[in-house]
């Protein structure tokens, strides 16, 4: 099943028109010895057989575990209208809106997405999307390097360790110097940051809430950075912005984050959505596509891709980023999701998550030997100190039907007994109670 429309008869006639004796002639530019007779792959199968195979494979995953896993990726409920609208063929089978008159749907949707991100983060301009929260942070780091002309970056250890790995990976050939600043008691360490900041620093990278779930206000740190001519880059969890101070109002210069929680399924790691917002003064240094408002000849409002001189297809090796295809459909989902929630809904949702997390804490702290780390306030994710190896506990809880959280030992030395637990609006009181009971039982 190759989805080819034409029949043998069509092909015969077309070959004639095009002046070929046979199909092989079409490939005569390819030296014969470089052609293969056939791929060593099985023949195609029918739709129903392929469905059966994938359906069976889908059942070979423990997706039914009650999910307390977070770590930057959250099990929020996705309203049905997000799926329905984002699966409109006109959206998902279109491509980048190079022809604006034939793409006003996509363009306006992205413009609205950019607007929503600006409002959420309290920043002035947001791009059309980047691959994910991690590469967005890398792009922010490089943007800071471009803006400041400096090559050193301070990195708070509360930033998602996966993202820190991404930063290291991408910059390994670029002589960028990173300086990790350890959190103290789960919170960004002002003293160490102040000590590390100097005129060589391009940016300090922070995360709110940080990887341990801790909530912070980085206004003072941003001020410290600015005093040294450095930028403040903040990676944020968008749902938390329903409740928490926006990075823009803390003085952040670049805000990035993972948009998965905005109506995207977890889907085993992607596609996700990197968002990025900044101040207008930096817009020409920003990577990624950008939609702007304009008018047509009769004055009707319309939208186009703009400031393209930043991009690879115009600037080639001098572009701000090499990104081309981004995550447009994911941005659309986020936009629909945020429109569904609206001003009040996002706030209520954030409250709900926070409140439930507080309840979960009361249940866990009642378990002998378990300590809820309370050094910092938290939003919907928090750290438990267990009396034994967290990864062992977690594995036992899988048998009880729970994905109980993320053991911190993998990325934080000496934290082998610590467990990161996330709570979303989908977790019921009963589920939290059952997890607490199960945990008590397996300890």
């Amino acid at each position: 099943m190759s989805f080819v429309a034409n029949t043998d008869r069509d092909r015969a006639e077309m070959l004639k028109v095009a002046g070929f004796a046979g199909v092989d002639g079409l490939f005569s530019d390819i030296p014969a010895d470089l052609q293969i007779a056939r791929l060593n792959l099985p023949d195609g199968r029918s739709e129903s057989e392929v469905y059966d195979r994938l359906h069976n494979l889908s059942h070979r995953n423990a997706h039914n575990l009650v999910c307390f896993l977070g770590g930057g990726f959250y099990d929020h409920y996705i309203p049905a209208c997000v799926d329905e609208l984002a699966s409109r063929a006109e959206f998902y089978t279109a491509y980048t809106p190079y022809q604006p008159e034939a793409s006003q749907g996509t363009l306006q949707a992205i413009f609205e997405y950019q607007s929503a991100i600006c409002r959420l983060t309290q920043m002035e301009v947001a791009n059309a999307s980047l691959y994910d929260g991690g590469t967005a942070l890398y792009e922010a780091a490089m943007m800071a390097v471009r803006i400041t002309g400096r090559r050193k970056i301070l990195l708070d250890s509360g930033v998602n360790p996966i993202y820190r790995n991404i930063l290291y990976c991408y910059t390994s050939n670029l002589s960028i110097e990173f300086c990790e600043v350890e959190v103290s008691h789960g919170q960004s360490d002002r003293q160490r940051i102040a000590d590390s900041l100097d005129e060589s620093v391009a940016a300090i990278i922070l995360q709110n809430p940080n990887f341990f779930g801790g909530v912070d206000d980085f206004t003072d740190i941003a001020a410290l950075a600015h005093a040294k001519g450095a930028l403040a880059v903040v990676s944020a969890y968008p749902i938390s912005l329903g409740l928490l101070k926006a990075p823009g109002s803390m003085g952040a210069d670049i805000v990035t984050g993972e948009g998965q929680s905005l109506g995207l399924p977890l889907s085993f790691g992607g596609p996700y959505l990197g968002f990025m917002a900044t101040r207008m003064e930096y817009v020409r240094k920003m990577p990624g596509r950008l939609v702007g408002e304009t008018t047509d000849a009769s004055g009707r409002r319309g939208f186009v891709l703009t400031l393209q001189a930043r991009e690879q297809h115009i600037r080639r090796e001098k572009a701000m980023s090499n990104i081309c295809s981004n995550e447009a459909l994911c941005a659309l989902r986020a936009s629909i999701y945020l429109s569904w929630l609206g001003k009040q809904g996002l706030r209520e949702l954030a409250m709900l998550c926070a409140q439930k997390a507080e309840y979960a804490k009361t249940r866990f702290s009642a378990i002998p030997g378990v300590e809820v780390k309370k050094t910092t306030p938290t939003f919907n994710e928090f750290t438990l100190a267990l009396p034994c190896d967290a990864s062992v506990v977690v594995s036992r809880l899988v048998d009880k039907g729970f994905a109980a959280g993320y053991p911190l030992g993998r990325y934080y030395k000496g934290m082998g007994n610590y467990l990161l637990v996330a709570v979303t609006e989908k977790r019921t009181r009963e589920e939290m109670g059952m997890l607490a009971e199960a945990m008590e039982a397996v300890l």
């Binding site: 190759s2 080819v4 092909r11 028109v17 095009a18 023949d43 195609g44 029918s46 392929v50 994938l54 494979l57 070979r60 997706h63 896993l69 609208l85 699966s87 409109r88 063929a89 279109a94 491509y95 980048t96 022809q99 604006p100 008159e101 034939a102 996509t106 609205e112 959420l120 691959y131 790995n165 290291y168 991408y170 050939n173 977890l266 085993f268 790691g269 596609p271 950008l290 939609v291 304009t294 000849a297 009707r300 690879q312 115009i314 990104i323 081309c324 295809s325 659309l332 429109s339 929630l341 609206g342 001003k343 809904g345 996002l346 209520e348 926070a354 507080e358 977690v394 594995s395 009181r429």
Partner: protein, 484 residues
Amino acid sequence: MSKLIFERSSPGRRAFNLPGLSEAEKSCRLHIPGKYFREQPAELPELSEMEVVRHFVGLSRRNFSVDGQMYPLGSCTMKYNPKICERVAALDGFSSLHPLLPQLRGGGMLTQGALEVLYETEQMLCEIAGMDAFSLQPSAGAHGELTGMMLVAAYHRDKGNRKTRVIIPDSAHGTNPSSAAIAGYSVTTVPTGPDGDIDLGKYEAALGSDVAAVMLTCPNTLGLFERDISRIAAMAHKHDALLYYDGANLNALLGRCRPGDLGFDVVHINLHKTFATPHGGGGPGSGPVGVKKHLVPFLPTSIVVKRADGTFALEYDRAKSIGYIAPFYGNFAVILRAYAYMLLLGGNGMREVSENAVLNANYILAKLKGRYDLPYARQCMHECVFSATRQLAKGVHALDVAKALIDRGIHPPTIYFPLVVKEALMIEPTETESREQMDEFISAMLEIADLAERDPKAFADMPRTTPVSRLDETKAARNMKFSA
């Protein structure tokens, strides 16, 4: 004029509805000090669910799309996206899978189904591309290029090579030089020769011991097969420069010719092109990177391995790996669609793809070449690149041709790319367009050619059938209005 969703907002409207809290939950006090709270809620729009639905349904109707129109956008391979692939991507057992789940038990025992999808996809891509291993992590073509360049750098670093340059032909897509530059290389551009192949002499001259890699698209962006590919490869390898394959145009070769056999060391493949995953209005895509043996140790972390007992695991501990280029395993739901597509086609179906893609392009070429200038008068592969120079003589630009096509219900080809062709019209029908549909396109193009001769002024106010007519791009750049 279509209202912005913010303009449809009315205070207090709500689409949202959220679960309530139990008394026990309600009674828990938040321990967040006041100073951490935001003062004003974000000014998101307030609408009822029906209003949200009508808004986005309305927007969708202002788009051209593959499911609505022929969409011969060159270099983008806008083929039909089978609906079954959407169905499998929506399966709960995949879509609700948390990416950290593999870490909760025995290196992936909780996600065997998903890992099998990844593993088998890699295996199939190896066979298709003639490579030894694949990483599925890159999120798009350009991401694959950057990953590839980082692999190149790691390879040379490991060998102690000192390399600073990457050679790229002038016909290349902008992402190629950009990716090379972003990976830390300087770029040497080599011109296209008179017949559309790379200028071999200039290429040889550009080579040198400081060349880390040569990035090629093949067929190149002119839709032409690089006939000297074997010599190009040999010459690069002589300098220990690696040959990089931009797989954007793999549709032309599928099942008939493998980049690995042509001498490429690193390739990326655009699953959202060759493997029919939907383009989503500009993504998400997926740009897996494949390598020959000598580059395997450097592949990104993690990789999927098959254990002796037939189970699958994620391997993280890889000393020479370039590290994390994505948070997890790539755009899984995109990969899943491509996997389903590959199963549907099988080896036989894939060969049909290239045969029909190339035939369709040559059919269009044959029918249009009398009326549009063909800068390189050769048979083409999966796309044909014309130039509107003849029309330009009358004052009609490639852009005008594009807008006239819109009014005829067809999405325009790619225009003004590749840069080496003046007034380029880059037409890629793909294998899924029918002859009748192509004939409609051809008629439209011929009609437009007539019109350009007869009444070149008629184009100025095209398109006329769209919700807006030609938009003022300069104004957009000047006004810098990027949000509501």
